[in-house]
Subunit: 664 residues, 2 copies
């Protein structure tokens, strides 16, 4: 096909330096360069082809996934890639597989919970992939309530071993990725029982399969839990089921950094602070926030480009029809998502910093900020993944009928993304944790304890409860300090109202439970405020490059004002703003959409995604959608024959009136 | 497995007569009995098994679908089912296939647009399935803008034929269901050109494939457009692509009821009113609303039952944990959807009546109510399908991790359902049509034209603009007339504000376009009001049976008050209610959840769905979830072998350090 850039006219209208924005998006020139190199490496290697993924049956799909993982490992070694480069390469391979859990959960679990000796032994095997590990926590009967897990690890002092056992059906391990077919080992979470006493849930390294022939070891029943949402999507992953029938492991395979069992069977807590475990949680969740901005930006990139290509209605005098991106209805759904992608990117980068900061503090024995950091990351994980999941589906709808085709890439992206809302903390459960933190913070307001970090604004409660927004004309809404204070006032007021209502209940727990739907809304207000404040910080940084600061300012304002419009009830009911001010915000929002419009395509170009990574005919860089959509259809094996399998048995007899049973 | 009803305790707490509610849900005892009989017929016939659907490759899936369609046809004939029974049977077969389009679009198109003679000829073939037809309207380049279709039908007076042609790539027919592989004929929409003049889009009956061997006829290129969202889902359907290379058809295959071309090539409008065509549109859209209540109620049924089975947290003294349905966060997401399912069911039944009513009026030459009826059905199609699509996904999330498994039935239900938001009118485009109608109605307020039907309340604009809600305590919100007036006031005020803002623009079209996002909100307010008012009517009907009226009242109030909470900004910004009244509504809503709780499982039992139709391990009638979830996993062919295909090539070499390329 001819190489023409069908979006060239869109790119010419950009009012900023796209190359400079690419660096801003990446976070640094170095990160940009690594991402750029790795994404091109993957895109140019036919072994990493993924456009046929949704046409493959499960077994072939999985075999394919094993092949890619091995090929990636080969390339990582051949090119002597650094750990950072290797991780980036895996991102761009863009296929959920056992290696994700091996590197993302198994290795960190041993690092976080293993003794130095255990780390030395197991990590050296894991780093070379001489064992493949997964993370076997969730069970059929327990997900969110980790303390309710039922698998047991009973110490047998006679043999110096733990006996791992699944006492009932609901204790079956269920969901761990990489478990079903690939892993040789697992970190298994089980109730530690010694000397007749239950010490609660601990981690144990358990070998599952023979290193010779991959067959499950005696006492182990293991398999895949079956098909999941979507065609390809997460079905490249072998989420597994696992049962133990009195499986014995040496005592030293209990992860003993935080507590241990002695040769005599005595349970001893180590002097390593248990709070260190929260560091890992913060790490995992900041990575999830970072992934949210990746997933949302991919969907937005596809929807923005296709909305610029697609034309419908509005032809005058035989001229071309209107680009759908020019419709206000399209803009009011699409541009807030574009702004959210940027917002999540920046808050994700900030969380990376926060993780480093809290790790240093923890190592120095300073645990004071941990509850706030924990609430912050839990809340941001919840908010960003929920918005991203819904946002991907919204982008799919914004692509009209063609978005429903797998070749649009969006169904796949959605189905592969949505588990983020559930894993590593169900999003509702997490928001309730944030709410609990907020209630505690509010209750301590009089006590002299000063809220810190992202919750510091609660310390200004007295001021914020009195605050009156002074917006008088639409442009006043462009003032970052106005936006910040209005969102602070909303967050603090919702929290205080909840606290007041809880205090009316017969007991606080009952009140908390009764009001939990309202508490969720207060938690969301807190999280949205954090994201806005970090976006404002980002805009105020020294952003080099033509027009960068202006575009970020527009995106930041769209992010904030579209949230204000979405949650207008919150702001009005707490008297943070008046109806008139709400209407002015909406007016300003429309003006911002108009300002953003000529930059929309370039703002998604700044994500620097290859066509391979996007995996979407609709989102192609060159905008040459229709011929490629057409070509793509004919590649489906279903089109190998014009007369479909089954015609002779099930269609012809109807048409030929040859159905024996016909009584017509 | 033992047959125990794990939900028996839930069923004992019902405060109403479930059997009576089944009749209310069905609409009449007769409809209940037909649905009950047909659903059991399908469920008990192993040929209609569908639990393996998500594990099949596309070709096998499609072959399977052809087999089921033929088997259904066999049973329909053997049992001499009525048209109504046959349609119901197809519903419970629950698999998208060519027959849907044959009966749902091809036949109605000929009925609506064909002359008596054409109907006689073609319908007699179609009714016996001696031809299979589809509806070829949408093209690669045009969906919503039907007038922009590019396929041409040029009359050739020399041969008395039309030449059907695809002049460019974007004119390729794209999406029609049943087109890709199954159909022998299509109603093709093309621009009628005669005597050098373009008369716009008209329908033509075109044979696509040989009735002998099913091969495409000369000049016809036809195929499937490839994989769509989901595993099984809509992939049982052969949505197709079709191109014409100067295909000739006899002149009398133009559908000539509304206009015709004479032997000489003269274009003549018939005296049949063109408005009659809208009757078909009303029919199709009321059917879609009816389907929305079916789809949403299935999802809700699954989520309610599983939420009663699932327990997490809150165990005291070693007792059982709390059922997740007892959490207010779960209730505040789930119960409004349960209420919506009932609301959509009742408004769907009302639309059936409306269709009959408008058809009688049209036949009597009374077109006055048509614009209102058209706006009403367009809006309700949009609102109910959007809420249903989002609601199914919300139900999936409410089932936690297990909802992501195909065996939960929810991924399949979602992926198969979401196209409803796009087909038969994109939901946003439809809401803009409603908004246009509202603006026209408001603009005519002074002129003496009285708004009719579901828009009659706009006639009370003067009163409603003055209206002050007099709620003083939470229970005041239980008064139906309060709810009705508050929602009327909100709808009218949003519409009037839009009209005022439009009038400020330099011209009305520009104003309409600039404010279209606000107009969408006004349209939604109008539609929600209709649904509430029909629900209130239903509650006030003579509902026999113990507790029926009370339960419907609770559901109706939950539906209304949860919408009020969701759109609180609308109500506050238009001064329909005060912040205090909003808080009281929320308080009442929580009380209603508590009232609903003991009836929840029985309220979904009243849908009378078989386990086959639900197709969900989580939603099983007997609540015996865990053992069946476990069994289901092992049925997946992926578990046929413990060592997966690909192990020897791609896993063993890593573990055995045998990768030639390894440099570690």
């Amino acid at each position: 096909m001819e190489e023409v850039d069908h979006l060239a006219h869109e790119r010419q209208t950009a009012e900023f330096d796209v190359e400079a924005m690419k660096i801003v998006w990446a976070g640094s020139r170095r990160t940009f360069e690594i991402a750029d190199r790795m994404s091109r490496l993957v895109a140019s290697d036919p072994e990493f082809r993924k456009d046929n993924r949704n046409m493959l049956g499960r077994k072939v799909l999985f075999r394919n996934s094993l092949r890619k993982a091995a090929h990636a490992w080969k390339r990582i070694n051949e090119l002597r890639l650094t750990e950072e480069e290797a991780a980036m390469l895996r991102v761009f391979v863009d296929e959920a597989s056992y290696v994700d859990l091996h590197w993302g959960m198994f290795v960190p679990a041993i690092k976080g919970q293993g003794t130095d000796e255990q780390q030395k032994k197991w990590l050296s095997l894991a780093y070379k992939l001489h064992i493949i590990g997964c993370y076997a926590q969730t069970e059929l009967g327990h997900g969110s309530n980790v303390q309710g897990l039922e698998t047991t690890a009973t110490f047998d002092p006679e043999t110096d071993e733990f006996i791992i056992h699944s006492p009932n059906l609901t204790s079956s391990k269920w969901w761990p990725g990489g478990l079903g077919k690939a892993s040789t080992h697992a970190v298994v979470y089980a109730r530690l029982i010694t000397d007749g006493q239950d010490y609660g849930v601990h981690g144990f390294i358990v070998q599952l399969r023979s290193l010779d022939d991959h067959s499950p070891l005696p006492g182990i029943t293991v398999g895949d839990i079956g098909m999941k949402f979507g065609n390809g999507a997460y079905n490249t992953m072998d989420n597994g089921v696992l049962r133990f029938d009195h499986v014995r492991i040496p005592r030293d395979q209990m992860l003993m950094r935080l507590s241990k069992v002695t040769r005599e069977g005595k349970y001893i807590q180590s002097d390593v602070p248990r709070q260190l475990a929260y560091g890992t949680m913060v790490f995992v969740r900041q990575a999830i926030v970072s992934d949210a901005s990746k997933a949302l930006s991919r969907a937005v990139c596809i929807a923005v480009r296709y909305s610029a290509v697609r034309r419908q209605f509005g032809s005058q005098d035989g001229g071309p029809e209107t680009q759908v991106i020019d419709y206000k209805t399209q803009q009011s759904r699409l541009f807030p998502l574009l702004a959210s992608a940027y917002a999540f990117r920046f808050v994700g980068n900030w969380l990376k910093w926060l993780y480093t900061d809290v790790t240093q503090k923890l190592q120095a024995g300073d645990f004071a900020t941990l509850p706030e950091v924990h609430a912050c990351t839990a809340g941001l994980k919840s908010l960003t993944t929920s918005v991203t999941a819904d946002g991907i589906e919204e982008c799919r709808k914004l692509c009209g009928g063609h978005g429903y085709l797998c070749s649009s890439g969006l169904p796949e992206l959605f189905a592969a993304y949505v588990p983020s809302c559930t894993y590593e903390g169900d999003n509702v459960v997490l928001l309730l944790q944030v709410a609990r933190f907020l209630m505690k913070t509010v209750s301590q307001l009089g006590s002299g304890t000063k809220p810190t970090g992202a919750a510091a604004y609660i310390g200004k409660a007295e001021y914020l409860l009195q605050y009156k927004c002074n917006v008088r004309k639409a442009e006043d809404w462009l003032n970052p300090s106005v936006i910040l204070e209005v969102f602070e006032a909303r967050a603090v007021r919702l929290a205080v109202i909840c606290a007041q209502n809880i205090s009316k209940a017969s007991n606080p727990e009952e009140g908390f439970s009764e009001l939990s739907a309202d508490l969720i809304e207060a938690a969301i207000a807190h999280c949205e405020l954090i994201i806005i404040s970090k976006f404002i910080d980002k805009v105020q940084e020294d952003n080099e490059g033509r027009g960068i600061k202006e575009q970020l300012q527009i995106l930041c304002n769209i992010y904030a004002l579209s949230l204000l419009h979405k949650h207008l009830g919150d702001f009005l009911t707490t008297n943070c703003i008046s109806s008139k001010q709400g209407a002015l915000a909406n007016e300003q929002l429309r003006a911002l959409y108009t300002q953003l419009r000529p930059n929309a395509v370039s703002l998604v170009d700044a994500f620097n995604y290859t066509d391979h990574y996007l995996g979407s005919v609709l989102g192609r860089y060159d905008g040459n959608v229709y011929p490629n959509l057409y070509e793509e259809a004919w590649k489906d094996p279903f089109n190998d024959s014009v007369v479909p399998d089954g015609y002779h048995e099930y269609v012809r007899p109807l048409l030929k009136r040859e159905l024996r049973f016909s009584r017509l």
